[in-house]
Symmetry: C2
Subunit: 409 residues, 2 copies
């Protein structure tokens, strides 16, 4: 008998009919001889409605009270799902974060999971209940203060709960069949990837593949939780994410991610002082600009330049923040910006043992006449910026250059 | 510095504007130099909407899950009220039943309060917060299972919380100015009563004055909680309910309650066995018929008859239940029923020391040509049934006979 955790997002439980559909899936899994736990989000739209109510009261509601308010969305959906399961003749029991022993800390509206005491949940599983836990929330262990976990919080709840109950598998149900070698809307030959390592999933998550937030993948990696990204609307097998193994290394590149709406900021003519990097990064951090790629260089005459990429939305804040510190960077320091960029990334743990990945990638782009800009690499990833208008063709030629359209590539 | 608990029902927090109104009242009370705690219900309409959602899933949802669902109504209103208080520049903190230490037991949808551990609440009061607690709910101390407290549960929450924090006063805000000598829609001379004893309030609560449920008054009596019934839409002083004192005894009758939609069932010709009363009462209890007045009599020949009053809605169930046991009560046992009745009750602790209350009451009714039926009394109460069509006139003549239209009567 396996113990399976299934996570369903807001759209999967967005109507009473969809809640019934989830109930049927849980029951099928149970009838296949498993212990079953669901971790679910609020019905889609409910969270927005609650935020709307709060905004009617005041523009910036205190975050503690916002968490108190928003946590009711999941509390409603878990109760309704348990009713649907009961209606189909099976035993079900719902658990709030408090009841499930999900302890959190940190900041309101973006809490972090401290630990989970799953005693009651395990008891209910052993008593043959289908267990339904509220995702997206945790409580302070001492006084029960409620924290919501921020974006992607329900995935994190599911992965953390799977770790706590030592589940055999955590299935993350979404509206896609799994992780693809590239966005199928861009590259029609894109294939679903059967198995990925945590590292590959992490690089893809941070490179524009929006299936899951990086922090949930990091949590799964840390605690060795094997998870599967699946589609809640069909029964197709999804993408399994697990520890790297030797079979994975034979494949140099697993997928191509694209990220649009990128902008570049360059500070050039830097002559003083030595600590200029920390001055620049501190200014950007203070302005809450999330920078992505960093390229730094110093010419022989000691004049330095640094370039950063970021989302277009952050460009204004970045410019304003850097203008303020320019005088500290030398008399000739100046700012250049470039909007209208996109980022192309290839990911694969096999890069470590497969030479020439970068050469293949840039040859493919050059053959297609696509100019590349900034380049950044990690052990299992190569990223480059291209003009926004080139990104789809770039994705297609690189996808093809690594034979990603071929099964078992 | 006094500690004041204020309870607001669903209509008092039914819109964002009304929530702001409650926030202002709490702040006024705080600014008058008091520590302030609110106990509130769900916004009116929210509970019905949630029940509607549950009914979409199944006709008879499991009550544990219904409680899980319904408790979100109060959790939302406490968060919104704290936002409104914060928006006006004051510190506020919301508490679910779990956070406020309200421990419950018993049956779902009609839980009972076991005890309250108000540690966190008292800390917040001492830290100068306006505290806002969710009414109508409690949790199992061991596993956090949520219980709603059933009809009148928010009043009970407020009284129990006032007892736990040793509040100086518990104000129950409603849509009426207080408890009246009679329903002002029936007796236009009816006056608001300034002070009542717990016993009087209890008798009036169980005799048709719908201001509060008897169990909240009983709880207040048991723990000596002084409470005041007030109107949330104005600043008029309300009715204070407290321990009986000697001043109260000088007034024979404090109020006249009427209850409509009454029916009578009589079992006559009872000849066997000795235990017939328990057979009858067990049958009615099993059918969940709430009986009110009981009149039992035995003739010299040993043939007994018993009559009961009940709400019209229960008459069908009562008839069905009693028909089944008639054969056990003797060969000549038979059932009579009478619908279309009403009940008139006078209440006053002063009856104990004022002779002739019953005589005055029945003289007034006789002078008005009103026939009375069953009569029941307690130490501080006299009730009689009259024809439904006579009840309003009966109330007026009795109200007048005891001079209840005169101030300080």
């Amino acid at each position: 008998m396996a113990l399976i955790v299934q996570k369903y997002g807001g759209s999967s439980v967005g109507t009473i009919d969809r809640i019934r559909n989830v109930a049927r899936r849980l029951i099928e899994t149970k009838n296949a001889g498993n212990q079953v736990m669901a971790v679910i989000s609020a019905m889609s739209g409910v969270t927005d409605k609650l935020i709307g109510l709060a905004k009617q009261v005041m523009d910036n509601p205190p975050e503690r009270e916002l968490d108190m308010l928003l946590a009711t969305g999941e509390q409603q959906s878990i109760a309704l799902l348990c009713m649907a399961i009961t209606d189909m003749g099976y035993k079900a029991r719902s658990f709030t974060a408090h009841q499930a022993g999900v302890h959190a800390y940190g900041s309101h509206t973006r809490g972090r999971i401290a630990n989970i005491d799953p005693k009651s949940v395990i008891q209910a599983l052993n008593d043959d209940y289908i267990v339904v836990c509220a995702g997206f929330q945790g409580v302070n262990k001492d006084d029960g203060t409620i924290f919501t976990l921020g974006r992607g919080g329900s995935d994190l709840s599911a992965i953390a709960m799977a770790a706590a109950v030592k589940a055999d598998l955590c299935q993350i149900y979404t509206d896609v069949d799994g992780v693809y070698t590239c966005d199928p809307r861009v590259v029609k030959e894109a294939r679903k990837i059967s198995v990925l390592s945590y590292e590959e999933m992490l690089e893809m998550a941070s490179s524009g593949s929006k299936v899951m937030q990086a922090r949930s993948v990091e949590f799964a990696k840390k605690f060795g939780v094997v998870f599967e990204v699946r589609n809640s609307m069909n029964n197709n097998p999804g993408t399994i994410v697990q520890e790297e193994n030797s079979a994975m290394e034979s494949i140099a590149v697993r997928g191509v991610s694209i990220e649009r709406n990128q902008a570049r900021v360059t500070v050039s003519g830097i002559t003083a002082p030595v600590a200029y990097t920390s001055i620049i990064l501190a200014a950007l951090a203070e302005a809450e600009v999330n920078i992505d790629m960093i390229v730094a260089n110093t010419a022989n005459d000691g004049v330095a330049r640094q370039s950063f990429t970021m989302n277009m939305n952050d460009l204004g804040s970045a410019q304003a923040a850097l203008k303020k510190v320019l005088p500290q960077l030398g008399a000739k320091a100046r700012l250049e910006t470039e909007a209208g960029l996109a980022k192309l990334t290839v990911v694969g743990v096999g890069m470590r043992s497969n030479a020439g990945v970068a050469a293949t990638m840039f040859r493919a782009l050059a053959d297609a006449g696509i100019a590349t800009g900034m380049i950044a690499t990690s052990e299992i990833r190569i990223s480059t910026t291209v003009e926004a208008g080139d990104i789809e063709q770039a994705a297609r030629v690189v996808h093809s250059a690594f034979n990603l359209d071929q099964v078992n590539a």
